[in-house]
Symmetry: C2
Subunit: 329 residues, 2 copies
């Protein structure tokens, strides 16, 4: 049993979201709270821009919920940068207790799961779960200097510039978090750091199957089964892997990475990064939930737990997926 059932059904009262210029040309453009014209966000470095976006998303979620900073009881956040500096430095701006988490691109559902666990238990009345990423800070840290102009292979994805936050409380909305399935670390031996989608797909399968087994639900129970950033190729792999186990998600699966970009440039398989699911969920999907265009969503943010050092030392890519069931009640 990997699933925690939330008897008190903590609610997502509001979200806050922000995205970069490239991202806003796509599906999220109409729904985010702020569209950036310039991905430096008037900061000197990409790292500071990333932090400022995360800060914006957190503040906006609080504001959109009709609350003040002083009303908020907990911040659960993480990001992709070393020592999760975006989250920690954003948290420095608030007098709110802070739990830092690291789940790579699974951070959105990990932080929602922890926040919902604490709210559901009655420990706190509310909490903000937040994450984000920035293309240029991720490239600098994980890959090559942008100035080098490296060619990207066709299996690669493009780190989303954006951030999203969700304010979770014991009341105040019809959008409820009904359960969370905490993932195990799954590693199928993929070593290609440009092919995160294929590395992560088996972990998405593992958590989705565990969730369906634990809850006794069929995949068709959900209007949408949303993965984080498998990308186009990884999504196809996930569908095949689930099909092998007799689970058909052909009709209700979407991947935030696959749908986030409209432009076809260098992003190949689509978006990735902790900000990918945070922006898509925090804007487009939450809007659909609020308008009751969808009523049952399984949000499965997917994370690749590698580092440049682990890959440099010849390791394969361990992955994790956490799932949270979000339903209109």
């Amino acid at each position: 049993m990997q699933t925690i059932v939330f008897e008190n059904k903590p609610k997502i009262v509001a979200t806050g979201s922000i995205a970069g210029p490239k991202e806003c040309q796509g599906v999220v453009g109409k729904f985010v709270d702020k569209t950036l014209q310039d991905d430096t966000f008037n900061e000197e470095t990409y790292e500071k821009a990333e932090r400022k976006m995360l800060l914006f998303a957190i503040e906006k979620a609080i504001e959109n919920a009709g609350l003040k900073e002083a009303d908020v009881r907990m911040l659960v956040a993480g990001d992709l940068l070393n020592q999760i500096i975006s989250a920690s430095f954003a948290a420095r701006e608030f007098a709110i207790p802070f739990l830092g988490v690291y789940g790579a691109c699974s951070t959105l559902s990990e932080s929602i799961a922890i926040a919902a666990s604490l709210v559901n238990a009655g420990y706190i009345e509310n909490a903000v779960a937040a994450t984000g990423s920035h293309f240029s800070s991720a490239e600098r840290q994980y890959r090559y200097p942008l100035e080098l102009g490296c060619t990207r292979p066709p299996q690669s994805q493009w780190t989303v510039t954006g951030a999203g936050a969700a304010l979770i409380a014991n009341a105040g909305s019809r959008v409820a978090i009904t359960s969370a399935t905490i993932g195990k670390v799954i590693d199928y031996g993929v070593t290609d750091v440009n092919n995160m989608g294929c590395a992560m797909a088996p972990s998405a399968r593992d958590t989705i199957l565990a969730h369906l087994k634990d809850t006794g639900r069929d995949a068709s129970y959900y209007d949408l089964i949303v993965t984080g950033d498998l990308g186009a190729l990884g999504s196809r792999v996930l569908k095949d892997l689930l099909w092998e186990k007799g689970v058909d998600v052909q009709g209700n699966h979407i991947d935030c990475g696959e749908i986030v970009y409209n432009v076809i440039e260098d992003e190949f398989q689509g978006g990735s990064g902790a900000g990918c699911s945070a922006v898509v969920f925090g804007s487009y999907i939450f809007d659909k939930l609020r308008k009751r265009e969808v009523n049952k969503v399984l949000l499965c943010a997917t994370g690749a737990l590698l580092s440049t050092v682990s890959s440099g030392q010849g390791e394969s890519i361990p992955c994790i997926t956490h799932a949270v069931a979000i339903e209109n009640v």
Copy 2:
């Protein structure tokens, strides 16, 4: 109110701990489950040695509790390496749901707080909270190549080579976790990356004061108020800062960093690192609790949330301290 009170008093059933050669010459040497003669632990790299230590501590905590891997419902862990690879790669070895956390050297109390929250709420029967660090992997990542033989300034500390894990369950021991106080990020503007103790002391004060206020307790309630890795200098700063607020911890405060080393070589202010509080708590202090030599401990692991990039970009050092009250019941 930053404090979560655990009505069901989740228990620390057992711990597992391991430490390096230098560490085992000190107070923990008699109490750890394994003393390493060679800090490479028969691995090719220091990163792999760090992971192997963490793996050992987790396995040992499970074994010492009389359980099997299949009995364990959750692993909450983190470490200092980029993308917390020690924790993630250790978690890969288990078929146990995993929550990755990052709180720098505050990871021990953060992971215990989260694990206890989940167990207390009845979501899971048990969980392992774990962390560790390695001197040489930390030096490589945060400071200078060892081969460079850099001189260390007198305000510096020495990253502990070691790991510790605690198995937390709803029954099975008299050592109970009665509450947890989640810290806020506190930054007093210290920019000297060699002086983490002074950077972190204000955050330790903030959380200790919040804990005492929330619980209505006097500092003298506790037999021991244990900070993580302030070191000798940082500990003195903390005592002064608390004294200014009318709180006297002169008689019952110890710092894991200050007491961990007996040898006086280059470690100056003492130990640091996520492994510092993990090893000292997991061996020496837990032994005292079990033998009822102490009965009321406030464990306050302290974390400096900087990165090489944030310091390189001119930032000061944001810090956090989480406190867990551990009492014989």
